[in-house]
Point group: C2
Chain length 331, copies 2
């Protein structure tokens, strides 16, 4: 597997440096603790929202730092949780009188680091709360997870909490909103290929030319089963059924619909997949209020996609439609 | 090569349907002629700007239809020019009293179709002008090209002409601006892998595990040479040298800098590549006014990237910074 890498040990820091060089007015970088943060953060008048998780899922989560989204992100190495002391440093850096909301995708390493970091922060009178995202319906427990995994639904939690924070919500209110979104969002993904972490140098798993992994995790964890290659619409149908039956979503629901590329799937194919998902929403009487087609939570260069549905009410619709500014440009 | 496809014959139309389903308020689709156009186009008070080229380069060019960008796009099949009668129909559909500017990346098939379509349009009293984009410095002639190829620099031509058109510029003025941008923009790309057109079902070329193609075209055309795999910064250096020495760019120049992913390269690697390109600009004394890191002109799922520099003056800087609305969402 050929990748654009210099020294694999510097992969994450060189990516972060590139991001900051591309956004000199809006982003800051505390290199020694892997922290990317907004140039205007922390602000006394708002809760800081941070996320710490492994790298390799870009744009999640360092490219989700911006107005209406995260205040800071503290990634670890590729597919590795950030060290506990990095999280503590991020708490210190983002401390405000209104406190800090820490959003974590449900992986054991991330949760353990947070628990210890929180104790240390409390000793320094820094108020923090945690909301764990666990939107993946594929499996109930997984390689690195007790309980469901957190995957692309994380985006909706960030978006809602980020918007509410800009609007002045306090920490308890943000915990309520983030938890509410997590309760209403469901995702499932699938892979056509594995991916290769730079420092590992070989694929974390391989699939035969006619094989796919249904319900794959974002670190290549096994899903529900290996299956044979099929037509695109068949894959959309299976993910849509799994996701929509889980809450379940019902006729008349207002929804956000996301087709998320896992890193190596071209945008042409993502729109072809979106077509079927949108038609299925029409069939079921789900009203798509917001749609998202692109890359939101990836696994390096893995070819594959995930499908996410989130149920919206008036409160969440307003938050999803609120302005957000992120450091990645379209045009 | 596994891809998300149903019937390969419907790949382009199903992608287009997905795009329109995702943008019901702003886009329209004339399915029988493969035309995506703005819901508010044509407008009597502005020149229409259209582009016709092969598919497989998304977001170019159907996802560049929007306010401040293209009024319509008329793609052919994957890596194939649109049929001449589709272009004529697009001229009819987008006809305005101020005329139509047709932007074409320099490939023989696209240029031939346009020449014939233009004659037919003139017979119907439709005024059209053509600007050909040929920003690729890799080779002087190529598999499908007499003269240099048109590649990712196309984006800057669209952006400037689209902005000027919104500001009321007439057809002659837009030809001047588009030609000026084309004169000031240079690109070169490289590939780590080939790619597989859906209807072909096999890669258009293959590279060994330690091989790369320097100067690759966006349909996999050979570039300057096959080379061995190297560290990422070495590739950036070679592309940067080739591009910056071509006009040449000089110390003190204001520039736009683009790292364009070719479809299968993850955003993490693109920012790692941008880092080196930005540092090289600092070394050379080029002031980066605008930067672009992402996918702008792809080759299906090809792993690879291109580097583009455009020299800006006051006029072009203003046009690059003008608002643009495209149908692909970031957050």
């Amino acid at each position: 597997m050929k990748k654009y890498v210099n020294d694999p040990e510097h992969f994450v820091s060189e990516m972060m440096e590139g991001l900051v060089l591309a956004n000199p007015d809006t982003l800051r970088w505390k290199k020694e603790h892997n922290i990317i943060y907004r140039a205007d953060a922390p602000r006394d008048d708002k809760v800081s929202i941070i996320q710490g998780s492994g790298s390799g899922h870009e744009p999640a989560h360092i490219m989700a730092v911006g107005k209406g989204m995260l205040d800071a992100a503290v990634p670890g190495n590729v597919f590795a949780a950030p060290p506990m002391d990095y999280i503590v440093e991020c708490f210190r850096l983002m401390n405000t009188p209104k406190g800090i909301l820490h959003l974590v995708n449900n992986y054991q390493g991330d949760r353990m680091g947070w628990e210890m970091a929180r104790e240390m922060a409390e000793a320094e009178d820094i108020r923090t709360e945690l909301v764990v995202v666990n939107d993946d319906v594929a499996v109930e427990d997984s390689t690195y997870t007790v309980g469901r995994r957190g995957v692309a639904g994380n985006f909706f939690v960030i978006k809602a909490a980020g918007a509410a924070s800009e609007q002045g919500a306090g920490l308890d209110e943000l915990v309520r909103i983030a938890s509410k979104v997590n309760d209403q969002v469901r995702t499932m993904g699938m892979a056509l290929t594995g991916c290769t972490p730079p420092a590992k140098g070989e694929p974390i798993f391989t699939l035969a030319d006619d094989e796919v992994e249904m319900g794959v995790g974002i670190h290549g964890e096994p899903g529900r089963r290996r299956d044979k290659m099929k037509q695109a619409d068949a894959f959309v149908e299976e993910l849509f059924e799994a996701v929509s039956q889980d809450i379940p979503f019902e006729k008349g629901d207002r929804v956000g619909l996301m087709i998320n590329g896992l890193g190596g799937t071209p945008i042409s194919e993502l729109y072809l997949l979106y077509r079927k998902a949108a038609l299925l929403c029409q069939d079921r009487g789900f009203e798509v209020i917001q749609n998202y087609v692109g890359e939101y939570c990836t696994s390096l260069e893995m070819a594959g996609f995930s499908l996410t549905l989130v149920r919206l009410d008036d409160e969440l619709e307003q938050l999803m439609k609120a302005p957000a500014e992120v450091p990645i440009r379209v045009f």
